[in-house]
């Protein structure tokens, strides 16, 4: 009975949603799937490896492909785009995560206040899970560090590494419901990493190019493909890794503290 009425009520919604999707579909048909749209400016019969005149290219994607290795020193072009060409976006993105983590903490403090805390006595966590989590936590953190330290060489980067570290901490929180890193430490790491990111951006304002977030050391340190290469890029990713790791840990930690 209940089901029926909801279904009737949602018929207009279904119609509207399908209409919307159909409109989008017709529009996206124009954007051919899998076609090399960014390569319209290449000469006809172009073969990979041929020299091209990058001066005349105006499509950003194409120029990044052609020039990224020299300009940023990063072997991973996605990282070059994320941290260097569109680094300003990434700064905003880190800020969004920071705002969300801070906001969740602030708002939960209002919710918790009104709550009478009923602490149930529960069995201690299982020994096997607890010790197992303790055993693998260093390995998970090591892997997270590996991912964000190699962001300019292999798939992954600061965000992914940070999330891996936070998932390790989540495992630890499941295994040890009462223990964990302190609020204060998390908060300090979070803010310091954010300040470090902006500081690295300001380095660009100070050095040769006088431009925020410029990567002036791209070619100076190491060759493409080495751990030490790509100038400030790995440093920024380290800051992002710490920041994302601490933020996600903080998010999990705050939500856990609520008990709901």
């Amino acid at each position: 009975m209940m089901e029926r009425t909801t279904f009737h009520r949602s018929l207009p919604a279904i119609a509207l949603a399908l209409l919307f999707a159909a409109t989008l579909f017709v529009a996206f048909v124009e954007v051919d799937f899998g076609e090399p749209r960014i390569e319209e400016e290449l000469p006809v019969n172009y073969q990979p490896g041929e020299e091209i005149d990058t001066e005349n290219i105006t499509t950003p994607g194409l120029r990044y492909l052609a020039n990224s290795s020299e300009e940023t020193g990063s072997a991973n072009l996605v990282t070059a785009v994320v941290v260097n060409y569109r680094g300003f976006d990434t700064l905003g993105e880190v800020t969004i995560l920071f705002l969300a983590a801070t906001g969740v903490g602030a708002l939960l403090s209002f919710i918790k206040d009104d709550d009478e805390k009923k602490k149930k006595k529960i069995l201690p966590p299982s020994l096997i899970l607890n010790k197992g989590a303790r055993l693998v936590l260093p390995l998970i953190i090591l892997f997270g560090v590996y991912v964000f330290l190699h962001g300019h060489l292999s798939p992954g980067g600061g965000f992914q590494g940070g999330v891996i570290i936070a998932s390790g901490m989540l495992l630890f929180y499941i295994a040890e419901p009462t223990k964990g890193a302190s609020h204060k430490v998390i908060s300090i790491i979070e803010s310091t990493a954010g300040l470090a990111f902006i500081g690295l951006g300001i380095v660009g304002l100070m050095t040769a190019s006088k431009i925020f977030l410029a990567n002036d050391f791209a070619g100076d340190w190491g060759e493409v493909g080495m751990l030490v290469s790509a100038g400030l890029l790995p440093l920024i990713y380290i800051a992002i890794g710490f920041k994302v790791g601490s933020e996600m840990t903080g998010l999990v930690e705050k939500m856990r503290g609520d008990g709901s």
């Binding site: 260093p138 080495m226 751990l227």
Partner: protein
């Protein structure tokens, strides 16, 4: 959960090996950079995190490391047997199972030993460790035999040699 120097050294070594396995590469320059970075990270993590590692018991480290390989041999043999056992039970038309939860008392004292034992029991024929309650391990057994302690003997002994 004491942070003995030996424990820190071992932790750092294990982490270092894991790092090198992740970053192994052929060119010398790159390898040197990775080794330096890995050493720093492993050192930092080892010093900070060796405190949370489970207690591994006391004993002669060299002997324990050797025994660890013996344990691995036994364990892998049992694991392959376990899979053949599963295959037999699952494919057998009548499904010869007689499940139940039994209780055993493992011989080791260290937390690490208990954890490793429980994990290896899960992967050996017919058994799944459920929980520890006050030093006794509860095991779900797919075909209950008379004396569970007897069946656990070889694994228990091997683990006890490594993590007493």
């Amino acid at each position: 959960m004491a942070r003995s120097p030996l424990k820190i050294v071992l932790t750092v070594l294990v982490l270092m090996v894991a790092w090198m396995m992740l970053t192994l590469r052929t060119d010398i320059d790159g390898l040197v950079q990775e080794i330096i970075a890995g050493a720093l990270i492993a050192l930092a993590l080892g010093i900070f995190l060796s405190g949370i590692l489970p207690d591994a018991g006391e004993g002669n480290p060299v002997k324990r490391i050797l025994m660890f390989f013996v344990f691995l041999l036994i364990f892998f043999k049992e694991m392959i047997l376990a899979n053949i056992d599963v295959a037999f039970r699952v494919l057998h038309p009548k499904m010869p199972i007689k499940p139940g939860i039994v209780e055993v008392k493992p011989g080791m004292k260290s937390d690490m030993g208990k954890m490793i034992l429980a994990n290896s029991i899960t992967l050996t024929p017919g058994t799944l460790s459920m929980d520890y309650i006050d030093d006794s391990l509860f095991i779900h057994w797919i075909s209950v035999e008379d004396d569970p302690e007897e069946a656990m003997k070889p694994l228990d002994k091997a683990v006890k040699e490594v993590f007493p």
